[in-house]
Symmetry: C2
Subunit: 388 residues, 2 copies
């Protein structure tokens, strides 16, 4: 049954454009070729921009992998690469492809300069290594992006004209799709890098503020870890479905929840004795100082809720606004539990910290009073699983 | 002369895949159609995901703009949109396109249910508004992404079969290319957002640390602005070509240069009198405290150079390492000038700040001693231009 190559090509091109993972894209292409052209195997030599070389990315087919992916790496002065990058040579290709059989004729043709014939001879040697009968190059803006390498057809016949047309058109689409996918991947990596830079800087600065409070060493990191565990537990129990955005906001909010302490005088923060009511009031001000610091950052709108309300109580007796029950943003309610638990376990000059177990019991006692019952339950389970 | 539509299509698709600006892409497509099919005008109705409606993005042609871009906005229940999203209706399209002339026949065909004929009648009315003779829909995963609207051919004839084939295939490529471009744009915007979030948070936290030092209010922002002006001046004078990455690093480094002050006791930082040698030594420690805070962030490797060395002197008499001349990273050398200038103009309890002019003269006096001469020169010019 004849294959409608034009249709196949359109389908292939359409699938390609939205695949933004270069490796996956290349696998799809090789599979398409092997299935449609029924060759024993096919591979793609692809330019590695950074290392200035060409790598055999995939080489598969029904006869199994011939050359392991990534195994073969060619410099730009490899004869096979030079064949496709030398205008005088690549211009003799038929219909945009280089056939092993044509190469054999060319090296016997004395009208071709000896030096070029030598490159062709060495190119054929390279094609021997990959057991290839044809190579189809992909160019992007005059530079060689890659080469499709084809094995023999399974039925032993030569490649037909329209099969070659299909492959040449496909190779050209491949070049664009791979270029597109690479640009996409670059952008995604840039985004990950920027995200890490943001989180790491926030961690570093929050830890520096944390260090001002001599008695809470490591507090920020512990609170952040507990918060993330609580969200994971709530998600696992399927009680609440949190978005990635929520997770990110909670992560940042737990890092920054005490950032307002930067505005509290050291003398009060590190007072080696119980606080007076007046001093307690000043320390409680750290939630709103934190809000003031972060207010200008419109991307942190949700994060600020966590900073502002992490000292609210479920029964409405907290600060700064006395919010009650579900009026307290869930983000802040999670931080409240994690923050209180860690604070209770810390030694202060005027009192010893509670044991982990005693702190845990106090959290449970406060379920529905100081804390949201759903969060206390998740917290209890985590504690019993030894995750806190 | 006949047009090779297959080739045109391949060229168009190839150009499309690497255009990641949706608006530009749409303009290219409309231009291609108007030129190749020689219609009087063409437009694209495109889905606006956020607003759940379809917008006429471009409507141009040799006869001039018929409907201003963005002017027409259709809800999903607009009859023309419903025509393409109702399976029973869109399935009667010939070769994937809806022709005005076919619609006229359908509304007279009593075998078509009256309610569907009513939608067709209203669709034709919509096409009248746009002076269109045909509509070609683009679908992506069963949802209507957009509709190509075509005016009459310039020569008055009907659209030919292969022209319609070309348009249908193009519309399908258009759908994928626009989807690709939108994904790209989303990612780019995400990146910009993340960058702003990072910079704004750094600004906020740096300003909060800055506020601990009662006498330097607004110092961080002024230093950052002066640093960016100096770089702009150096670039303008073509003495040094700075990369975007350098600019970003300088921006972050100037924001964070004094971050180590968070580790200096408030009593010393805000001492209302001249400092003892011992206290001076402690304050000088802020450079290395800053390095310690930022050290874990590998993306800030270059930024840390600015934090570490902004108190080095060109003559080697600075701290913490006594680096000399060009051994001082240029990033740090720029911050050094901006930081010193601003510090000199500040009032302290035990001395009045210098006038701007006196501070400027002191900077010039220190050229080649405390400061890098090239940077002093740029600074002087900026000062004389009133930019500082």
């Amino acid at each position: 049954m004849a294959i409608d190559y034009k249709k196949e090509l359109e389908t292939a091109a359409k699938n390609m454009i939205l695949v933004h993972e270069p490796d996956l894209l290349i696998k799809m292409i090789v599979r398409t070729i092997v299935q449609k052209i029924k060759v024993k195997h096919a591979g793609i030599l692809l330019r590695d921009k950074e290392k200035n070389s060409y790598v055999l990315n995939v080489s598969g087919g029904p006869k199994g992998i011939r050359v392991p992916a990534g195994f073969a790496r060619m410099d730009p002065d490899n004869p096979l690469i030079r064949f496709f990058t030398t205008k005088r040579l690549s211009s003799v290709m038929k219909n945009g492809a280089f056939f092993y059989s044509d190469g054999e004729k060319m090296i016997k043709n004395s009208r071709i300069p000896a030096e070029l014939r030598e490159i062709i001879r060495q190119s054929l040697y390279q094609m021997d290594i990959f057991d290839s009968v044809a190579g189809v190059p992909s160019y992007f803006q005059d530079s060689l992006l890659g080469v499709l390498l084809l094995g023999k057809k399974a039925n032993g016949r030569n490649l037909r004209h329209r099969e070659i047309d299909f492959l040449v058109a496909l190779a050209s689409d491949v070049a664009m799709a791979i270029r597109n996918a690479q640009l996409f991947k670059d952008l995604e990596q840039e985004l990950i890098k920027k995200h890490n830079m943001f989180i790491n800087t926030t961690v570093a600065l929050a830890a520096a503020v944390d260090a001002k409070d001599h008695y809470t060493h490591g507090h920020i990191n512990r609170v952040t870890n507990i918060c993330m565990e609580i969200v994971a537990k709530l998600t696992q129990k399927d009680k609440v479905k949190f978005s990635d955005k929520f997770m990110e906001n909670l992560h940042i909010a737990s890092l920054l929840h005490d950032i307002g302490k930067i505005g509290i005088p050291e003398a009060i923060l590190n007072k080696p004795g119980p606080l007076t009511d007046e001093e307690r009031k000043i320390i409680n001000g750290h939630t709103l100082i934190g809000v003031n610091i972060l207010q200008p950052i419109k991307e942190l709108e949700t994060v600020i809720q966590g900073v502002k309300y992490h000292h609210e109580r479920y029964d409405g007796a907290g600060y700064p606004e006395g919010l009650k029950g579900d009026a307290i943003p869930i983000l802040a309610a999670i931080i409240a539990v994690a923050d209180s638990y860690d604070a209770m376990t810390l030694d202060r000059p005027y009192r010893n910290g509670l044991s982990k177990n005693a702190a845990m019991e106090e959290i449970e006692t406060q379920s529905g009073k100081q804390f949201h019952p759903m969060i206390v339950q998740a917290f209890s389970e985590l504690y019993r699983e030894g995750k806190i």
